[in-house]
């Protein structure tokens, strides 16, 4: 087990794939906090968020042989979490989850990755904490992944399976929405 702790996620997956099922516990330990944090921020007001996180790990184990160990495990796990969370939102029917996103239809040349200064980033995070729950799910999720999970555009694009430029567009619109909400509050 000590060996597993020192290994990369992908090495541990290889172990699990070859039958060392105990090693899956290391992956649960490593990602439990991240998944819970992601669930809490994305699934506002869902008492069963913890159960959904458990379901994420169960799904990951069931589908462990579909993981290509040459790719990044974290992106793969976040993808499973994204699917589970979206299903939970759909099931509740509290907020709409459109099947088709027009933002991913056309190219968006303006949507490049931004290099926020640390102060600027902290400011946005502070604003997000105040009214993230009032933002549409499609913008909220991108902001959670970018500002709270510290993932880059490429990783977010792979998790949500959308073009990189669309990540930029959603972040921009999400920030605009937050600004509007805060202005209304004032």
């Amino acid at each position: 087990m000590m060996e597993s702790i020192a290994s990369s996620d992908e090495d541990i997956v290889r172990e699990v794939q070859t039958g060392a099922t105990e090693a899956f516990g290391v992956l649960v330990e490593r990602y439990e906090d991240k998944m819970k944090r992601y669930a809490r921020r994305f699934l506002f007001g869902y008492e069963e968020a913890e159960d959904i996180v458990q379901e994420v790990f169960i799904k990951a184990y069931i589908n462990i042989h579909s993981f290509d160990a040459r790719r990044k495990f974290s992106s793969w796990l976040y993808r499973i979490a994204h699917n589970e969370f979206i299903n939970a939102i759909k099931k509740k029917g509290k907020e709409p989850v459109p099947f088709f996103d027009p933002d991913s239809l056309f190219p968006h040349p303006i949507a490049k990755e931004e290099t926020d200064s640390e102060i600027n980033r902290q400011e946005v995070v502070k604003q997000l904490e105040q009214c993230l729950d009032k933002v549409d799910a499609k913008y909220r999720e991108v902001m959670v992944l970018y500002y709270f999970e510290d993932l880059d555009y490429q990783q977010i694009a792979d998790i949500l399976q959308i073009p990189i430029a669309t990540v930029g567009v959603r972040l921009k619109r999400g920030r605009e929405k937050i600004k509007k909400l805060l202005d209304q509050k004032i």
Binding site: E29, Y61, H65
Partner: protein, 252 residues
């Protein structure tokens, strides 16, 4: 503050694994799923290729792809006579292909427009190439034999259906002072009238046996042509017209 880690989650999951209440799906399950996905893509692609090439072949057979050269009226004729049911079916299969192709990173990393255009351009060009081969001609011939063509046979009945109003196909029989005589697909002899407003290619020199398309209103056995084009490479020649060799000079 963030961490609310309970040792329970790891233990719960591991105990479920040990008890066998959750089991990892075997690798072949995913290999099979990928194979099914690829097979679905190939099948949808081939079906689309067949349908697109058929529509192109259909427009070549009835000559309607040349109708826009007659101006707005020509565009209108092309639009109203397009096989809309087939085009809707093509649209549906493009959607199916798009959904299947979005499982691959090369597709979802790019805007939807790119993958749809990619599918349409690739299949459009391939369909055009297939339409130039004898593939559909052979199937059409087969559909008209006694044994017929299973499944797709009824599709080729489109090719024998009457032309839209004001659109006539046939073979030149002889010239007249006002134009020429033409035998249409129903073996009727029609007199085609040409005037200064008729749109005819500058170097058109019709010969008996040439296959032509004529746009114009038919009144009785006369057609007042507003446009005439020749089938440069006739893709059809109804049986009753095969008696006359093509390209025999007219006495003008």
């Amino acid at each position: 503050m963030e961490s609310e880690k309970t040792p329970k989650l790891k233990e719960q999951i591991l105990s479920k694994i040990k008890s066998g209440s959750i089991k990892a799906k075997p690798k072949f399950h995913f290999v099979l799923r990928t194979l099914l996905l690829i097979s679905g893509l190939v099948a949808a692609g081939l079906l689309l290729l067949y349908l697109i090439s058929f529509v192109i072949f259909l427009l070549r057979v009835n000559g309607l792809w040349q109708a826009p050269t007659f101006g707005f009226r020509g565009w209108g004729m092309l639009f109203t006579s397009l096989p809309w049911m087939l085009l809707i079916l093509i649209g549906f299969f493009v959607l199916v292909m798009e959904i299947l192709v979005k499982h691959f990173s090369f597709a979802y990393r790019r805007p939807l427009l790119y993958s749809v255009l990619g599918i349409l351009v690739f299949l459009g060009v391939s369909g055009f190439v297939v339409a130039q081969t004898p593939f559909h001609q052979n199937l059409w011939d087969l559909s008209e034999t006694d044994s017929g063509l299973p499944v797709a046979g009824s599709l080729y009945s489109f090719l024998r259906k009457g032309d839209p109003d004001d659109w006539h196909r046939g073979m030149v029989i002889s010239t007249t002072e006002e134009g020429f005589l033409m035998e249409n697909l129903a073996a009727e002899i029609l007199s085609v009238k040409i005037d200064e407003q008729t749109k005819i290619p500058f170097a058109l020199d019709l010969l008996p046996g040439d296959m032509v398309m004529v746009a114009g209103e038919r009144i009785g056995d006369e057609i007042k042509a507003f446009g005439i084009r020749e089938f440069s490479k006739p893709v059809f020649r109804p049986r009753h017209m095969k008696k006359m060799p093509p390209g025999k000079s007219l006495n003008r």
